[in-house]
């Protein structure tokens, strides 16, 4: 039976991974995400799973990909500086289409920055961090209960689309504790990768003729195939200067782009008649919701669009909002990153104004309320 528990965001993330069937974690200690690793270190061995503390962040990401190739649902958790180091192998997992989940509990940056304070300035790195064109799915929960359910969803999307999925939240929601209910097994759906049904000698690991997401064989199960970080043909072997590279890279993007409806999740709050809308995620989304309530109490028609999926970006929702609101306020714990995405999608149809803070403290509801009032 599900039961209420007081859990830290980071613990809820680990619990979500276990619920999703994760049997493999590799990580490296880093504030403010370490509790995810500690929780997995306690739980995984008891379930027969693998917990590895590797020699560095790069190694942890690589081990996760290895674990996933051998058939485990695998993930890692890190923060700012570690997330920078993950980028190399995150790109490898994208190109080789190995499912895995990377949790980034965001702190201030650049460099060592503010290890114990919240930040949101990695959000563009979540989209564009690794070199080359690539798809990105990034989920941004704001409440402890959401961290649990979005982590489950991250594993599901990763298995379904054969691509890494990032779960990005900030130090405040990672470290805070609130009440959550862990659902019974079966209450939330759990998705496993589609395996090939053809005989091994016919298996082509990157054959897109039957759809954009080819079935994936695990290593050691009789399908002996080649995985490489070079651009490759349907059989997995490198190709050089071939039109296949172009079409295959487009397919990788299409896996995400063509499935936006399945991947995207947004919370709309009091938006229907809103004159002023706030666009915010993570801790800023929580502040913004409080600010919207304060504004409504004063008779101001304010509302909130809070994406749970920041990548792919909710382009249509922001475009629609910009057509009917007078202004969109974008509070973020960076000096202006997601603000530009909102501007891009509003195309000048309404005013877009940022509220930015990077001193290690969250933006308070009163600050957002003041900007809502000014925007009228």
């Amino acid at each position: 039976m599900s039961r209420a528990r007081l859990l830290q965001g980071n613990e809820a993330c680990a619990e979500g991974a276990l619920y999703a069937g994760c049997g493999f974690f590799a990580g490296y200690p880093i504030t403010p995400s370490t509790e995810v690793a500690e929780h997995m270190a306690k739980k995984l061995p008891k379930r027969g799973g693998v917990f590895l503390q590797m020699e560095d962040e790069i190694a942890a990401m690589a081990a996760v990909i290895g674990g996933s190739l051998a058939g485990c649902k695998a993930f890692t958790a890190t923060s700012g500086p570690g997330f920078s180091l993950k980028q190399e192998n995150l790109g490898f997992a994208m190109l080789t289409e190995v499912p895995c989940v990377v949790v980034n509990v965001m702190r201030g940056g650049p460099s060592t920055g503010v290890p114990t304070g919240p930040g949101q300035s990695d959000i563009m790195q979540c989209r564009w961090g690794t070199h080359g064109d690539h798809p990105s799915i990034c989920l941004t929960p704001a409440y402890v209960q959401e961290i649990f359910s979005e982590t489950v969803r991250a594993f599901n999307l990763s298995e379904k689309y054969r691509t890494p999925v990032i779960v990005a939240f900030d130090e405040v929601v990672g470290h805070m504790r609130e009440k959550i209910e862990i659902p019974e097994a079966g209450a939330l759906s759990v998705v496993d990768r589609t395996k090939p049904i053809c005989p091994p000698e016919e298996y082509l690991p990157y054959d897109d003729s039957q759809g954009d997401v080819p079935p994936m064989a695990n290593f050691f199960e009789g399908y002996r195939y080649h995985v490489t970080g070079l651009n490759h043909g349907p059989d997995g072997f490198p190709v050089n200067a071939s039109p296949r590279i172009h079409t295959d890279q487009l397919r990788l993007l299409r896996k995400v782009e063509a499935n936006r409806d399945d991947i995207a999740r947004n919370v709309e709050y009091r938006l229907d008649d809103a004159d002023v809308a706030v666009f915010a995620y993570g801790i800023c989304g929580r502040s913004a919701k409080a600010a919207v309530d304060l504004a409504r109490a004063k008779g101001i028609r304010a509302g909130l669009l809070r994406p749970l999926t920041i990548w792919p970006f909710p382009e249509a929702q922001v475009a629609a909002l910009s057509a009917r609101a007078r202004a969109i306020i974008v509070p973020e714990l960076s000096l202006g990153q997601i603000l530009f995405e909102v501007e891009r999608c509003s195309k000048g149809r309404c005013r877009v104004e940022g509220i930015h803070r990077v001193d290690g403290d969250p933006i308070h509801p009163a600050q957002i309320l003041a900007r809502i009032q000014e925007a009228l």
Binding site: E55, A62, V64, F219, F220, H226
Partner: protein, 278 residues
């Protein structure tokens, strides 16, 4: 009867990318013979590599093969091995791949004593990118990024491996081929982390620049320079100048192996859970 290499080679994947005179093909065949000698199921073998000339080898063989990022082969391999500890994991790497960009993973795999075999193809250079100096380029020799003679000091890979805790360390060469077959078999049979440094010739990027006029000169140099360790240890100090030992340089059987230690912990925890004790 001649050895049938084709059984292990993927159809249509040859010719390989290696230059004429490169010794990787020789080592490749030695590796296939060593694997064959152990009568393993091909489905149970994973071969993992990083980036560089040697790292292309897994593409040619009919196992589960994984060609990863520069320096990272050992850590991808660690993930595979921990997920499926009963399988055989072999890692093929070069000197730059294993000891420069992958140096941290190298020493930690040694320390962890995880049951895998690492073959380091040491040709003293970054061949694929055209002959830059590597952590094993001898002092004074020339490289495209040390055109006035190398002033950087080299690693001795077996000493590094042993110092970091590897429980099996060997050195072979592309010239002493039957001995190399035996070394690879011994390394793979060893329970724990095994490292075989394999001296190789890169006539294109290293040899030409360093007065080895032909690939044969490099092989002759190997023949002269590498002495079986048993004989090497008996040489008077003045005779060891310019010589290096080859063979099994270090072996420690019975040391705790990482997968075994980890899964023994898992079993202990399961028993505890079963008895209801905290």
């Amino acid at each position: 009867m001649a050895f049938d290499y084709q059984r292990y080679i993927r159809g249509g994947k040859l010719p390989h990318i290696w230059c004429p005179g490169c010794t990787y093909g020789t080592v490749f065949k030695s590796l296939l013979r060593a694997i064959d000698a152990q009568k393993l199921d091909r489905n149970d073998i994973a071969m993992v590599s990083g980036i560089g000339c040697a790292s292309r080898l897994p593409g040619y063989v009919d196992f589960n093969t994984l060609h990863t990022a520069h320096g990272r082969a050992l850590v991808f391999a660690t993930g595979l091995k921990m997920a499926k500890p009963d399988k055989h994991v072999l890692v093929v790497s070069g000197d730059g791949d294993a000891t420069a960009i992958g140096g941290n993973h190298f020493i930690h795999a040694c320390r962890r004593n995880i049951d895998m075999t690492l073959l380091v193809f040491n040709n003293y250079t970054y061949g694929m990118t055209g002959g830059q100096y590597s952590p094993t380029t001898p002092y004074g020799l020339s490289a495209s990024t040390m055109p006035y003679g190398n002033v950087d000091f080299a690693f001795d890979i077996p000493s590094l491996a042993r110092g970091a805790g590897a429980t099996f360390v060997a050195r072979g060469t592309a010239y002493h081929v039957p001995a190399l077959d035996r070394l690879i078999v011994a390394a793979m049979r060893h329970k724990g982390f095994s490292v075989v440094e394999i001296m190789n010739a890169c006539p294109t990027a290293f040899g030409k620049r360093n007065k080895f006029k032909s690939p044969t000169d490099l092989l002759l140099w190997m023949k002269e320079s590498f002495v079986p360790v048993e004989a090497f240890e008996k040489l008077p100090p003045e005779k060891t100048q310019g010589k290096l030992p080859m063979g099994i340089l270090h072996s420690r059987e019975g040391a705790p192996e990482f997968c075994e230690a980890y899964f023994a912990m898992v079993e202990r925890l399961k028993e505890k859970e079963g008895t209801g004790k905290p």
